[in-house]
Symmetry: D2
Subunit: 144 residues, 4 copies
């Protein structure tokens, strides 16, 4: 059993790539998730969690999400390792999305300033989109 649910904001615009082999879409992003217990002595009050999205959802995420937008993710924790430039082994722990839900909309460039929208609600005819059509892909194919 390996289950994760996150609600947080993108720290940057998501990055969409395609695997060299099968050409599967894969989007990477980092979610800033606010902590509940913000002790005053605790300087950092959010966790910055790396997320990987595969398949059609990867493309939707890259299209509709951008820096600062709110997003729900469910999935699992994955660990992998790679060789760093200094020859050392680095260990990566990240969340592989199984379902994504857009809680605020807005592509990159939108909503930046004078009056773009950005809310998510009745007025915007927005609704939480939920995707689940991701194709898990072999680890070896990850292009990063």
């Amino acid at each position: 059993m390996n289950k994760v649910v996150l609600i947080g904001r993108l720290t940057k615009d998501p990055e969409l790539r395609y695997t060299p082999g099968s050409g599967t879409a894969v989007t990477t992003l980092t979610l800033a998730v606010d902590r509940r217990f913000t002790k005053d002595t605790q300087q950092k009050e959010a966790d910055f969690i790396p997320v990987v999205v595969w398949g059609k959802s990867a493309e939707s995420t890259a299209q509709y999400m951008s820096k600062g937008k709110l997003m729900g993710v469910s999935g699992r924790i994955q660990t992998r390792s790679y060789e760093a430039k200094d020859g050392g082994r680095r260990y990566v722990t990240e969340v592989v999305a199984e379902e994504v839900q857009f809680l605020e909309w807005g592509a990159k460039g939108q909503n930046s300033g004078e009056g773009g929208f950005g809310g998510y609600g009745k007025e915007d005819s927005g609704f939480g989109s939920s995707f689940d059509d991701m194709t898990p892909v072999d680890d070896g194919e990850i292009p990063f």
Copy 2:
């Protein structure tokens, strides 16, 4: 282990009560949670999940949430039974919230028509509020 996470919309305004004994606040509501696999033959495409919120969060929920607003809930599934008016035993399965997150704001009456707000985003100075200060209370005290 008994863990639940939901994101959904209130089907009605939340109902705030206080326990007869200790006077603890308790709010009940129903979340409509959209299903992911909407097969065309499937007429109902949401689940309507009863949620109970205790303590300070109960009051926040009653204050800031209303019909149609989007809300995140984590908690656990609780079952209990009661005697119906016809003398039969009824079994209730509901979610007891441990943490609530308001993904859209707006009290009852707000946002109804001409131009109230309702979005949740930077423009609205909105941010996802997360509460966790609920006091679990004895089953017997539930006033419904």
Copy 3:
């Protein structure tokens, strides 16, 4: 978003049926999940959560699980209603399994008394089985 994870014990042997239409296997069971906060004044210290398992996992569950065995389940909460014999509408809230994990093994009849096994560990060559091949089926097909 609608996610549930449970670890609990079967209150009875699971019941395996097949849908009239497509003949899909469906197993129903109830998990007794111990509560964490057992206040002394609280007489009931477990929740009894109805679970539905579909497809190949339904058959595995019926085959390997029995009353008292420990089981992990992940899935989602589903609500539905039906007409009771007295003509009244009854509302059901249950967990639909997406993944099951057998934490103790033992078919019905096994492990009952003089020395059957029942543990789950190295000695039993047991390992946690995890299934995910369930076929969601139309609500209307549920044969109960």
Copy 4:
């Protein structure tokens, strides 16, 4: 919202330490969690997830869990960074336990061979222990 549930086996005996400041107990361990979709081409079929347990549960975990034992954990994902010996910044993503459940028992040294116990079931008078009395502690206090 930041929720995690894991069921997996300890890759090594857990390590119990105490924070220099307040003397709070903290146990670190790694859970090997089997993946569901084991594609044949995929050499690694488990994720190795670092877990931190605080407080009284830290001591229980160190006392009752050991290499190979099966354990359930719920909690949240935490990220932090530290300076490596080579001067570079390293980023750590780990799970902070909020609840632990021992699905197999056995201290270090026990269950090693000829006939130690290790199962978890009626025969062993075992029952799933669930702890939740952990005291979250300041990041700066983590002694590693």
